[in-house]
Point group: C2
Chain length 573, copies 2
């Protein structure tokens, strides 16, 4: 065990503060202005990451397969191993992870707290940036591991699980730092009085809450875990990372890196620990129920997420969740129909609709819409959108680079029989789900998404999340009704994203009001290279915390401000 | 109903923004530095508040007695009246308050939200300052109403319920404003790209959460209610104020003022509504369970507070509580024994120990302490402290100006038989509770506090709150044990305050660490005119949110940042 005294000679943290001073300042300024800022290049180009980076990363990933993950140092284990990862592209990963001895891990985490607390906010932020920088160097290895656990196509996996996730991590670190820096270290308080002023010195000390638990998901194991991990860590809390049993490797690598950087800089690696499990062990609940766990970050389904929001919140824990919702688009009119179709087709097809931000409900007036190509009927809009999607994914070899693979059996089952689903929901198939054969992974389940038309009256059909490669085209009486349905379904069932297409400023204004009422972020008239599914760190909040899809947003003040508390000591001077 | 459009000609809010610009700026700077700042003079002197202010305020208070409180305008009522206030000084107040029609009130509150939301953070802050300024003008009326509901002595009632509460309200308004101002209204985001930059305009809109419910307490009806009231209101949420049934009048006056200022400035008075009840109606729970209620601020006992923390938090509501605890002092040594005794005697005697911040447990080594007057034994310290308390309260006519009256039967029952209580707890009476006769109110129950000595081993005796005029002197093996017991009891049972007396820098350092571990603010060597029970707005946090006494602090970022959410709309430019 290394020393936890940050002033000891073995501690390299002061160097890190200097090394990352400019990055942190850039981050502070970006977060205040919400202007563009990115530290980690999103291009997997050899010119950026090095000629051998891609091959090295692939080799490093392959070295994990069918092996024991033995690089977590002295993390306490009960001597057994977990592991049930199955690549959506076919092969079993057969990585074996040492199971965490939870009792010992909690003791270790708690004993690591005082040194980390007393290191101060700036040092913690610098160490966290150093961790993310070190994670960035493993981006290709992590990209392969995310591809083969989530089913994402490779380039998406590189970007979303690599630099985009790292930028979100940095955003979280900066958000936490800014919030802690709002509390001055000390003040001399001077109250005027009849017999001269009363003077007191008051020192303000930032203290952590307790152990943070981060519960990862299957589809975005790093992107959705880093914000909570680094928000808790940067505010002084040790973190136990509990990955989804089908997506352990990307977080195991991340935890390994974090532990090494902590240790190398004189801090206790027990500040970040990995709690791997196999399918069905229920480890998240067991750890969440431990009284020492004070903060829980969760991404996943509404069942366990709802339990956390009820039971863990009732136990006084801070709970940050992202669950599910019915992402919605209102189509009213456009002066760029090709642009709308191209943008929508890509948004719906990317990762076969398995993003928490993929649109599910598209509201279109049953009388059709006005466009730069003339009036287009509801049926015509569906047909041309289906055509655009078909064209985008017509070549199997190219399509798999957009579609990826279907992540798990649950989603697979929904994608098997669209005519049956449409019939059950009382709708009609506009575009059937299409089987795509992966040129390199013949066992991969790859599906090009389909479209189902529903009448607006059939709200049982479209008011629940139908995660995966299926989108509903909903015929409404009018755009006003489209907006009202969007607002009401999101208020009740939640959404991470919403969008509107209209050439009318009045309709856009109404859409903004509907989005504000529903508590959902709105994208307007996206026809270019920005997609409704995508958000940019430091500028776009991910989620709002204002509708049932998620009770928090990446990264606003509320996401970080309550992860630490302030203790004052005061005395006369 | 007045218009809620802030741009309409009837709206005076732009003037208020100008009128309060400097105040808000001073508040921002004070909150950032935590230096001394006060807007509302704490002296009830005629030179400050005017020659006739005291008499006018008394007359205004008396005009309420035995009358219907009819100045809430068009607040919806069910036609019945509530009222069961009994002055701790004797008389029944017999004020009758129109009962709120809760269903109609919720409808009215919700319909008031869009106009208030769209007014923007700065206008809301300015309107809130205007409300507090208007409340300040009623300080004498409120002081009398607090004196005759809480039992506070008059000058304390004036200061705590008047200017000090108003400064806390301003702190809350400024805290909320600062947090909202961290979100820019708009940005043009420009991402570099191969074919030129991608440019988007993003607008960030602050939206409220829902209806806030503020549940007042009997002892500090305004001081403990204003922070939550103004934090919710300033962030765009309408508020229903549910006073303690025995302390309605101070909040009824405050709500009346708020509604008038809102109406006069073109906003809907339904943004602040009063929900008065008589004893035992259980109205707080009924309103708290309404799904439209999104935020709850509570001060009071641990029973209902614990229910809120469990049930209301499990329902997804934000819950801010202040409940109970075991405030603690560690006495190690001093170079100013007279100062220690004088300071402690006043802290223990003020309002007969009925402050949530009054020390309950005083840990003293059983071998005594070193002082500037030589070694003082444990027994000697108890005797001299008892002597100082007796001297402070020996003259009944003067004593009542410190002691006030005992607030209710529950506290009275604890104050009746100190020898019996001491015997049950296994301790000995050091100073008995003394009956004091009020010169003006013969029926007032006034008690000078007592002291009970306990051994540290007898922890069943001192590890629960014993609210009222009783303090425990706890004999420990050493100061190290004193600090450990202070830390452990506060971690388990909570505390709003802690203090230490020592001439040793090492002991003070250890005390700071113990306070940090316990999550409690520490006062060191208070021997002058600052008391451990008192905190200053803008500088001292009230509570930490880090121990079981309270889950929040007045006013840190966490107290305000989650009361609103942010909704983005983005489009290419």
């Amino acid at each position: 065990m290394t020393t936890t005294d940050p002033t000891s000679s073995g501690n390299a943290a002061p160097d890190l503060v200097e090394a990352h001073r400019e990055t942190l300042q850039q981050g502070r300024e970006a977060l205040a202005s919400r202007a563009y800022f990115s530290r980690y290049p999103e291009s997997p180009s050899p010119r950026v990451y090095g000629e051998t980076a891609a091959a090295d990363g692939l080799r490093a990933f392959e070295a994990h397969l069918a092996s024991d993950f033995s690089t977590l140092g002295d993390q306490p284990t009960d001597g057994t191993f977990a592991g049930s990862e199955l690549s959506p592209y076919g092969p079993l990963l057969r990585v074996r992870y040492p199971r965490l001895d939870v009792d010992a891990a909690i003791v270790a985490a708690r004993s690591a707290m005082p040194g980390w607390r007393d290191a101060g906010a700036l040092t913690r932020a610098a160490v966290c940036v150093e961790i993310v920088d070190a994670i960035n160097k493993r981006s290709f290895e992590i990209a392969n591991s995310v591809m083969h656990t989530s089913g994402q196509p490779f380039v998406m996996s590189f970007q979303a699980a690599g630099p985009h996730a790292q930028d979100r991590a940095l955003e979280s670190i900066v958000g936490a730092l800014v919030e802690q820096e709002r509390v001055p270290a000390s003040v001399v308080w001077e109250k005027p009085g009849r017999d001269g002023p009363i003077r007191m010195r008051k020192d303000y000390r930032i203290i952590p809450r307790g152990i943070g638990l981060v519960i990862g998901c299957n589809t975005f194991p790093t992107w959705n875990s880093y914000p909570g991990l680094f928000a808790s860590l940067a505010t002084g809390n040790p973190v136990i990372v509990k990955p989804h049993p089908r997506a352990v490797l990307p977080l195991a690598i991340s935890v390994e890196v974090a532990r090494k950087v902590l240790r190398d800089n004189g801090f206790d690696p027990a500040l970040v620990q990995l709690a791997a499990e196999s399918d069905g062990e229920g480890l998240a609940k067991a750890i969440a129920e431990r009284p020492e766990v004070a903060i829980i970050d969760y991404t996943g389904g509404p069942g366990f997420g709802g339990w956390l929001e009820r039971a863990a919140a009732a136990a006084g824990k801070l709970v940050y969740t992202e669950k599910s919702g019915v992402n919605s688009i209102v189509v009213d009119s456009t002066d760029n129909l090709r642009g709308v179709l191209g943008n929508l087709a890509f948004s719906l097809s990317l990762y076969s609709g398995q993003m928490c931000t993929t649109p599910q409900n598209i509201y279109v007036p049953r009388d059709g819409i006005e466009t730069d190509e003339g009036h287009v009927s509801f049926e015509g809009f569906g047909a041309t959108l289906g055509g655009a999607m078909t064209k985008l994914t017509s070549d199997d070899a190219k399509a798999v680079e957009i579609l990826g693979a279907i992540v798990n059996d649950d989603v697979r089952s929904r994608a098997t029989d669209l005519p049956g689903l449409a019939a059950r929901l009382g709708g009609t198939v506009v575009l059937d789900v299409r089987k795509v054969t992966h040129p390199s992974y013949p066992d991969a389940v790859v599906r090009a998404p389909g479209l189902v038309a529903l009448d607006v009256a059939n709200d049982a059909g479209y008011t629940r999340e139908c995660f995966g490669p299926i989108t509903f085209l909903i015929a409404t009486d009018s755009t006003a009704q489209s907006l009202a349905r969007m607002r009401d379904t999101i208020k009740e069932h939640g959404a991470m994203t919403a969008a509107v297409y209209s050439t009318s400023e009045d309709v856009l204004d109404d859409a903004r009001d509907a989005a504000a009422d529903a508590g959902v972020a709105l994208s307007e008239n996206l026809t270019g290279p920005v997609f409704v599914n995508q958000t940019a760190a430091f500028s776009d909040y991910h989620g709002t915390g204002a509708n049932p899809a998620a009770n928090a947003a990446y990264v606003d003040a509320a996401y970080v401000a309550n992860r630490f508390r302030v203790v004052t000591s005061r005395r006369h001077v």
